[in-house]
């Protein structure tokens, strides 16, 4: 089943690698946004199956973006997975409280990224 993922990350290179990984390995469709604000607009328009959200972004960061997504009723139900380079569990707990479905650590393995997303969201592979 072709999934549609919205990826929000300020690093262009990472956006490309994630997109290429999900597209070539799992055959999913990926929409990319370079900032939280752009991501929220795209989420409302494209209604993706899930959002992959970077935590550390200049301006509106990951948790702030997640709050805005949750506060809008069109996007409130879209599951969000954080992509984070911060691996401290204190940090993870803070994010857990923000209402994310799960976490994926950077650096990720592009060959298994889609499988991991599916596992977190309970999707059939």
């Amino acid at each position: 089943m072709q999934r549609h993922i919205l990826l929000i990350d300020d690093e262009e290179d990472i956006r490309e690698v994630v997109a290429l990984s999900l597209e070539t390995v799992a055959g999913w469709r990926v929409t990319s946004a370079g900032s939280g604000r752009e991501g929220i607009e795209l989420a409302k328009k494209a209604m993706p199956d899930a959002v992959l959200l970077d935590v550390m972004m200049p301006g509106q960061d990951g948790p702030a973006t997640l709050r805005l997504l949750r506060s809008d009723e069109t996007t409130a139900q879209i599951p969000v997975i954080f992509l984070t380079a911060k691996v401290q569990s204190i940090e993870r707990e803070r994010l857990q409280g923000a209402g994310a479905a799960g976490f994926l650590a950077k650096p990720f393995n592009p060959m298994t990224l889609a499988t991991e997303v599916s596992q977190i969201l309970g999707w059939q592979p």
């Binding site: 290179d13 691996v87 401290q88 060959m111």
Partner: protein, 474 residues
């Protein structure tokens, strides 16, 4: 570390100053006490001399009164009284001599007094004899006033000596008071300075400790920022290389594929190193939390073996997992990290076709985990140093085997935080067995609540940790 030296120096300096001041206090107190005792002796001595002088004066007066009585009445009782007074005077005078033996000026006065008194007694003896022989009239006929002159001289001399002694007494009292006051000031000053020294060193030590903590916090922040900043470019590099090496993006030449493999392997190693450095930093700063909950020893080794199976297959190693269902109170994620570390080492140092065994053996007080291989073994001299950071048996191992040199150090810290021990038994050429123990401990209530509230987080963290530790195996 320069700051460490400063703290020690400060403590030592403060200690030396306080010790010196207490030494001064001791010496001054001792000298003052000795001085006071001496002064006291002097005062007693002066009183004694004064009393002796009074008794001499009284004795002479008594003798004079007896002589007068005898001359007038001729009564023998008066002569007896006189003889008693005369007998008493010599011991009194010799006592006086003895008491003033240290004072030449007094000795001179006493010598003068003695001769005056002897002469006075001689005159009185003469009076008594004259009375006995010639009666009252014979005495009156003598018309001798030598006795009166002597008596006046004796009184004057004794009065002089008494006033001299009184002056000495006043001087001694003054000196004693002065030395008391001086000692009081010195002791007070020394105690005050000691207090300043103690407060000063406490202040300096606290300041240094605060600074040291600050530096440690900065170091810890630095490590986590650097590790985070390195992670972002590494994510892109690792992702791109892995996709390229997978062949999904199109064919590459054989040499190109080999180069990509090398690049991927080394990026993996870099990521592992980064994660291990972060772990070591967390262990150093004490910020690595141990979240204990009830877990099954058998499940832990089965899970660890499952994680390591792909690596074992790649190296042609059979994993032999023991049966166990013993429950322990521990952090399953951290123990899994230890087990995968040990298993990864065991696989790396085994030859293809070898067997790696993992067991969890309950003993009386603890659960003992064992990971054994049939590899080359570890020389006796290296068996304890391998648990130190960056200490590998062979310097080329980190390159050949892709290790970080931190795995065993991290495992040791984790085991120690659980109150257990970690060690290795090994025979060269036959293999090694790594052991670590986790004591069966009573449930601590604070940890219990903590682990309950974080149960969901731990599941995620385990998933993430696997991603961190073995990116290549996924």
């Amino acid at each position: 570390m320069p700051i460490k030296r400063t703290v020690e120096k400060t403590v030592l300096t403060g200690f030396v100053i306080v010790l010196a001041l207490f030494g001064i206090v001791g010496v001054v107190s001792q000298r003052t006490i000795v001085g006071l005792v001496e002064d006291n002796q002097w005062v007693t001595h002066t009183h004694m001399v004064l009393e002796l002088l009074q008794r001499v004066s009284f004795d002479v007066t008594q003798a004079e009164a007896s002589v007068r009585g005898f001359v007038i009445t001729g009564n023998d009782n008066f002569e007896t009284q006189y003889d008693a007074a005369k007998d008493l005077i010599e011991p009194l005078l010799s006592d006086l001599r003895l008491q003033t033996s240290d004072n030449p000026a007094e000795q001179k006065s006493i010598a003068a007094l003695e001769s005056l008194i002897r002469e006075r007694f001689a005159v009185m003896d003469q009076g008594i004899q004259t009375r006995k022989n010639g009666g009252l009239n014979a005495v009156l006929a003598l018309r001798n006033n030598r006795g009166l002159v002597l008596s006046a001289q004796i009184s004057t001399l004794i009065a002089q000596m008494r006033s001299q002694e009184n002056r000495l007494l006043a001087e001694r009292n003054l000196r004693a008071r002065q030395s008391e006051r001086r000692a009081f000031v010195v002791v007070l000053l020394a105690v005050f300075l000691a207090m300043i020294a103690v407060m000063g060193s406490v202040f300096l030590v606290f300041r240094d400790l605060t600074r040291r903590r600050q530096i440690e916090r900065m170091k810890s922040e630095f490590v986590s920022v650097v590790s985070h900043e390195l992670r972002t470019p590494l994510t892109s590099i690792h992702g791109s290389l892995t996709l390229l090496a997978s062949g999904l993006l199109g064919p590459t030449t054989e040499k190109g594929t080999r180069m990509l493999e090398i690049a991927v392997t080394n990026t993996d190693r870099l990521i592992r190193l980064l994660n291990d450095i972060l772990d070591v930093e967390k262990l150093d700063s004490g910020s690595m939390e141990i979240r204990r909950r009830l877990c099954n020893g058998g499940e832990l080794i089965r899970n660890a073996a499952d994680v390591m199976r792909p690596m074992a297959q790649k190296h042609g190693i059979t994993l032999d997992v023991g049966e166990s269902e013993t429950a322990i109170w521990a952090d399953p994620d951290r123990l899994a990290q230890c087990l995968t570390n040990l298993l990864s080492n065991a696989i790396k140092f085994s030859d293809a076709g070898g067997r790696v065994r993992v067991r969890a053996v309950p003993t009386a007080a603890e659960l003992r985990f064992e990971v054994s291989d049939e590899g080359r073994g570890i020389p006796w001299s290296k068996q304890s140093s391998i648990f130190e950071r960056f200490h590998q048996v062979d310097a080329s191992d980190s390159r050949k085997k892709g290790g970080t040199g931190l795995g065993l150090a991290i495992s040791r810290s984790i085991v120690q935080q659980h109150g257990g021990r970690i060690w290795v038994e090994s025979e060269l050429g036959k293999g090694s067995t790594f052991f670590f123990t986790v004591p069966f401990r009573k449930v601590e209530p604070t940890n219990g609540t903590q682990s309950n509230t974080n149960q969901s987080a731990t599941t995620d963290s385990r998933r993430e940790r696997n991603a961190e530790t073995h990116p290549a195996d996924r």
